[in-house]
């Protein structure tokens, strides 16, 4: 019953509009992203360098602790960081998305604009951090050279992997953004799950021949790849560390999970969306 000039609030039928609206409202989206970036970095003299500090500290710790004391191979820091930076992007996005609606009460209650812009602006913001942090990956690969030559045609997989990851965080991001309005413990559940994910995903270790997974029966190996991050992070590692193409079966499982979670996320978001203003 609303004229076309008014932003669509999305009836349940228009799941695709979740994304087509983004182009129409790209100016709002851009403003929200630049708001986040400016607000985050304006008051800091080092500015964007702060985005690098956290992963930089971790590389230093890894290279000192693991390679010096635990006698890991000298390329160990680069093996970790090629998965750590994509993992960081994943966690920052989900932590941010879960707060994206409940953290903007006054806007959501008063102004009518497509609500999916809020979680998606969080993802866009962290995509920029992701790009900045990627310079560390390059740096690490130069300093701690991997044992295999990685400069090859397989590098073309990188944009594909990034797109899959964006799809994955968008689906889960919409899911937790909407659910957290109705159930306020969702943000804590997300935090706990992310902590667990850090250890069950191949960040500090790899599912290769010497991995801890070898000690378990086969089904553990497959269950492990039900975690959509596993295939994805292993994919990043194959391309950037082992210089091969990703394992298509495990990456395929990640893609399948991305679609399942994406469908669930979009549906759930629009179901909760009808009550956003009532519940905040």
């Amino acid at each position: 019953m609303v004229q076309a000039t008014v932003p669509s609030m999305g009836t349940r039928a228009d799941s695709m509009q979740t994304f087509t609206d983004l182009y129409k409202y790209r100016f709002i989206l851009g403003n929200l992203v630049s708001k986040e970036l400016k607000a985050q970095y304006r008051n800091m003299s080092l500015g964007f360098l702060w985005a690098l500090l956290n992963p930089l500290v971790l590389i230093v710790v890894l290279s000192v602790a693991w390679t010096v004391f635990l006698e890991a191979p000298p390329s160990f820091p680069s093996m970790v960081i090629v998965a750590l930076i994509p993992y960081n992007f994943f966690t920052y996005c989900l932590a941010g998305c879960s707060m994206s609606i409940v953290g903007n009460v006054s806007l959501v209650k008063k102004v009518r604009f497509p609500r999916q812009i809020l979680p998606i602006s969080v993802i866009c913001t962290h995509l920029i951090h992701f790009a900045i942090q990627s310079t560390l990956v390059v740096l690490a690969l130069i300093v701690f050279t991997p044992p295999h030559d990685i400069v090859s045609v397989h590098l073309l997989w990188l944009p594909v992997l990034v797109v899959i990851e964006i799809g994955l965080v968008t689906g889960i991001g919409l899911l937790v953004a909407g659910l957290n309005v109705v159930y306020r413990d969702v943000q804590y559940i997300v935090e706990s799950i992310l902590t667990i994910l850090f250890w069950v995903s191949p960040v500090l270790w790899s599912a290769g021949p010497t991995s801890p997974l070898e000690r378990f029966p086969d089904w553990v190996y497959y269950a492990y790849f039900l975690n959509p991050l596993s295939g994805l992070l292993e994919g990043f590692r194959s391309v950037l560390y082992f210089g091969t193409s990703p394992d298509l079966i495990t990456l395929g499982m990640s893609v399948a999970m991305t679609f399942i979670l994406g469908y669930w996320g979009v549906k759930s978001f629009w179901k909760q969306e009808r009550e956003f203003a009532d519940l905040l």
Binding site: M1, S34, K110, R184
Partner: protein, 262 residues
């Protein structure tokens, strides 16, 4: 064609005793316990129309459903029953300072706020000078909002709203925060907007403001329409009822004059 058409609208809220938690909800479903949530009707079968360029005031005591009606008109929440049709761009007056980010400059906040209300970059570029002149914040334009006084934030907020040129202007209690001069300036601007064809939807406890700005008034009582008609008659009846009521019962706690929007 009316600017706002509200037809048999009812709005119910789930009445929850405490915030629901996902973990608890899972447990409840597993144990198959019935939900404890009740239902509360905040608006019951409300119908009215506001023609383009007209103004309607909504009055009523706390808890009468005014804010609920406001959020329905602003289209931020959905009616449980009935239909609401609002034509054109909606300009909600945010609580002063809300919607502004304290770390961003006035200039950046103008773009953020105006874009949320539906303006394109070109439209904001064209209006920027007028907004800055109206807000009268001078060299503070490039300083973070956090350094603004409350009055300056209020002026900037209203300046953006006035220049968004909404087809339907929604004003809650927000105006009561500014000083006398600011309020007069706002009211003058609102009258100018009305003259240009903007439709005004005002929720207020300030009867003099209601009389000044609105031709018609709607009196809500416990979610139901008590009276709809010319402002003078409705306000007169409303105040009379309350005078009698307070004389009889010696004040049931919610006086018609003060308090926040219901």
């Amino acid at each position: 064609m009316p600017a706002i058409r509200v037809e048999n609208v009812s709005k119910g809220y789930r009445l929850v005793k405490q915030k629901p938690f996902l973990a608890k909800e899972f447990l409840r479903r597993i144990l198959q316990r019935p939900s404890s949530a009740g239902y509360f009707m905040a608006l019951k079968d409300v119908s009215f129309e506001v023609p383009k360029g007209e103004s309607l005031a909504v009055i009523g005591t706390n808890g009468s459903g005014k804010s609920t009606l406001l959020s329905l008109i602003a289209q931020t929440s959905y009616p449980t029953q009935g239909t609401i049709d609002v034509r054109g761009r909606i300009g909600p007056l945010l609580e002063l300072g809300a919607g502004f980010h304290p770390d961003l400059t006035g200039h950046e906040n103008i773009y953020l706020n105006a874009s949320l209300m539906g303006l394109s970059r070109e439209e904001i570029d064209a209006r920027l000078d007028a907004i800055v002149t109206y807000a009268d914040i001078g060299e503070f334009l490039d300083a973070p909002i956090a350094t603004y006084s409350t009055g300056m934030q209020a002026r900037l907020g209203f300046a953006v709203l006035a220049h968004v040129e909404p087809d339907v202007l929604i004003v809650d209690e927000a105006l009561s925060v500014g000083d006398g001069g600011f309020r007069q300036k706002c009211e003058k601007t609102m009258r100018e907007m009305l003259a240009r064809g903007t439709t005004l939807f005002l929720v207020s406890h300030d009867m003099s403001q209601v009389r000044e700005l609105c031709k018609r008034a709607l009196w809500l009582h416990k979610g139901e329409m008590r009276m709809l008609g010319p402002t003078e008659e409705v306000v007169h009846e409303y105040l009379n009822t309350w005078l009698i009521h307070t004389a009889e019962a010696d004040g049931p706690g919610d006086s018609p004059v003060d308090g926040d929007a219901g």
